[in-house]
Symmetry: C2
Subunit: 436 residues, 2 copies
């Protein structure tokens, strides 16, 4: 296979790659080799990967090619954020060695992907313990910019065509924000829909296993496997979309104008777009979610922090210290405020097909130190409702991706994916980044 | 109707009362009058009722008798623990007047019973805020003994044939323990199966709405209405029962011997009885559940306690003070320990048809100051799994009721009720108490 052919193979989406392998037009071995090749040529610049298991991936591909097992992800290479346990690979969680482990079993989510025929190429870089201390990963659209966090490597790897899909997690904005910054689709399902066991927690009440891919149907296929029982997006003809002015007001003028223009495009294609006022509980949601995060992170890290405080990054250490100081009644009040918002906002969300907003207030910030503003993702993590980020254009000013977020009520993942697929069809195809 | 006839009518069970009203053999008015009559003659001794709404109940009965509405609880008088909101009646929660309210709407559970044709006779005494500061209620088997708490009045009212059924709540042992002490059936469903809105909370994570009646089929009928979608007990032929020696060891020799003898009787009737070892997580469960209770009670009462500390009872005040002092990370750890027990014990419970144990270590203690030992009920409240107490005899020594508890995994309420009905059929009929 020529290097051009290999690059084309590496750039295949999930469904296309799987169907070619299934049809015998492409071997899993060739697919894996093409992705490893892409990683080899780009990762010296992008630093998306913390660990690449080329030999293991090649062996898995050979076994698939020589066997008869069928699976909807047959031969599809995937990247796994380095807070998931993958049997045979180290888990570092982006931390110093005191916290590294070599798990003897896959996380449930990883095991489900493998059982469907996916091949784990390796572990992608995460910010330290999935919080704010940055990963070394660069943005494939401009390596001087952050790819976002905390699932930095997964977003960059999918954007750079190193893999068709990758696993991430979102506790505040860690799937949708890097997806937006890197110009790929990022999906965070209803809280609890995908089991989080075998994943290093940041905050149990808020942690969601999520997916990166380059199209909504690809995300839906992977998510279906992750749920353990499949998931069919509900087709919509002309969706009823909601816009919340309070959310648009948080975006830069460029991003707000972009989202308003997209809403007009969707309306021209048949959607109805109405304004939605967020419930009063929204005012205290940010503080409530932040407190729940601080406390649960402190609860998980307490013992290790007592022994290894100096080995923790600045941001996570500061958060653990704050979390250790909170009283239990304040935590309970914060958690109840979060759940009160969830209860109040759910019927508002369910009354539309999706709430449309920017995914992030702006394009990816310059530098790697700051992983970006998660304030437009955070409410939906705190509420545990599903959210998806769609790449929706490239900024004329920064030449970085623009993106929109769609949100639905808890449990309505199939409905949200149907709306997202409709919206995606109205958008111009997203080009590949310069580093791909 | 003669006074003997009235007493017989008041003593009808839920299903029999409802079917006679439905068949036109008995009016709701006569049924209500019989129960009010019984309350009038006994409550000066037993103090089961905090509030009786005779006029309202008579009006509701007249409306039913004159109307065509059908409902599975048509005309059935019920008592409601005085921490549930009932429209038109005061809610005192057994507290000083600072905390009293006059709600404008029914708790969801109460509303569902009324929609099925039940008639709320009034509010039954609760311990203060459903904790340990006692209610004035006496045990119908011996008024010098506690009826148990916190649903003291509901248990005593059903035992004394003042009503065929009553609502209670259990956070630690507040339905099953008073049911056991008063010789009636008490049922606590899976946590969350019956909505707890409109009920003054003690600890949200542990609060369960429960039912008192005098037979398992009566409890099942009321519970079905409370779930909002009905519930059919799953019939069993020969149940597989488990006995946990660790639980029997906590009982008095009399109670332990009673439960072992019952297990033999069940085995003779076809049941298999095997020993079950509780998981290691059981060792820390009590402390974990206690901490969750302290913190959540403190979180709910914090503001009122700051203003009215001197008006709180000794036990609840002491618990609120302890709860206010806990750190958030300790609360999170306690809640996770509780949920870890739940996860570990569920498959063990599901592997049998029920776990059999004493409901309480002994019969009802003497005096009203101490509502009794809840340690055998507490694990199942902490785990949120369903549990039922069956009256199983009368102590030769104390002439007070003996009782057994049956437990199943969360969500398996229909299975547990089926096993409970089988066990009930093997028991001798429970006599009425001296004060009935």
């Amino acid at each position: 296979m020529s290097s051009t052919d290999r690059a084309m193979v590496a750039a295949l989406g999930v469904r296309e790659a799987a169907s070619r392998v299934q049809a015998g037009e492409l071997t899993a071995a060739a697919l894996v080799e093409a992705c490893l090749d892409k990683i080899g040529s780009l990762d010296g610049t992008l630093h998306a990967w913390a660990y690449v298991d080329g030999d293991g991936a090649r062996a898995a591909a050979r076994a698939l090619d020589g066997g008869t097992a069928r699976g909807v992800l047959r031969g599809v290479p995937i990247g796994v954020k380095d807070i998931f346990h993958v049997q045979g690979m180290p888990t570092t969680a982006g931390s110093r060695p005191f916290a590294h482990s070599r798990p003897s079993a896959d996380a449930t989510s990883v095991g489900r992907l493998r059982a469907a025929g996916a091949i784990v190429l390796g572990k992608t870089h995460t910010t330290e313990f999935a919080f704010r201390d940055p990963a070394p990963t660069c943005n494939p659209w401009n390596p001087r910019h952050t790819p976002g966090g905390s699932s930095s490597g997964s977003a960059a790897a999918v954007a750079a065509r190193m893999v068709p899909a990758a696993l991430g997690t979102q506790t505040v904005g860690s799937v949708l924000r890097p997806a937006a910054y890197c110009g790929v689709v990022g999906y965070k399902p209803t809280h609890g829909l995908v089991p989080a066991d075998g994943v290093i927690p940041l905050a149990w009440s808020l942690d969601h296993v999520g997916v990166f891919a380059r199209s909504v149907p690809d995300v839906a296929l992977v998510l279906g496997v992750l749920t353990g029982r499949g998931l069919d997006p509900v087709p919509v003809g002309a969706p009823r979309l909601a816009l919340a002015p309070e959310l648009l007001d948080r975006a830069t003028p460029e991003m707000a104008a972009h989202v308003r223009a997209l809403a007009e495009r969707f309306a021209a294609a048949g959607a109805t777009v109405t304004e939605l006022k967020l419930p009063a509980e929204f005012a205290t949601l940010h503080a409530a979610g932040q407190r729940v995060l601080e406390v649960e992170a402190a609860a998980y890290h307490r013992d290790a922090f007592a022994r290894h405080e100096k080995d923790y990054g600045k941001h996570i250490a500061e958060m653990i210290r704050i979390g250790l100081g909170h009283t239990a009644v304040d935590y309970v009040a914060a958690n109840r405020a979060r759940l009160a918002f969830r209860e109040t906002v759910m019927p508002l969300l369910a009354a539309h097909d999706a709430l449309l907003s920017p995914t992030a207030p702006a394009t990816a910030p310059e530098g790697l130190a700051f992983t970006g503003d998660a304030s437009l993702c955070a409410p939906w993590s705190s509420a545990g409702v599903p959210a998806v980020s769609l790449p929706s254009g490239v900024s004329d000013r920064s030449r970085l991706p623009l993106a929109v977020q769609l949100v639905q009520a808890a449990g309505a993942d199939a409905r949200l994916l149907g709306v997202a697929a409709w919206c995606e069809r109205q958008l111009d195809p997203m080009p590949a980044p310069p580093h791909a």
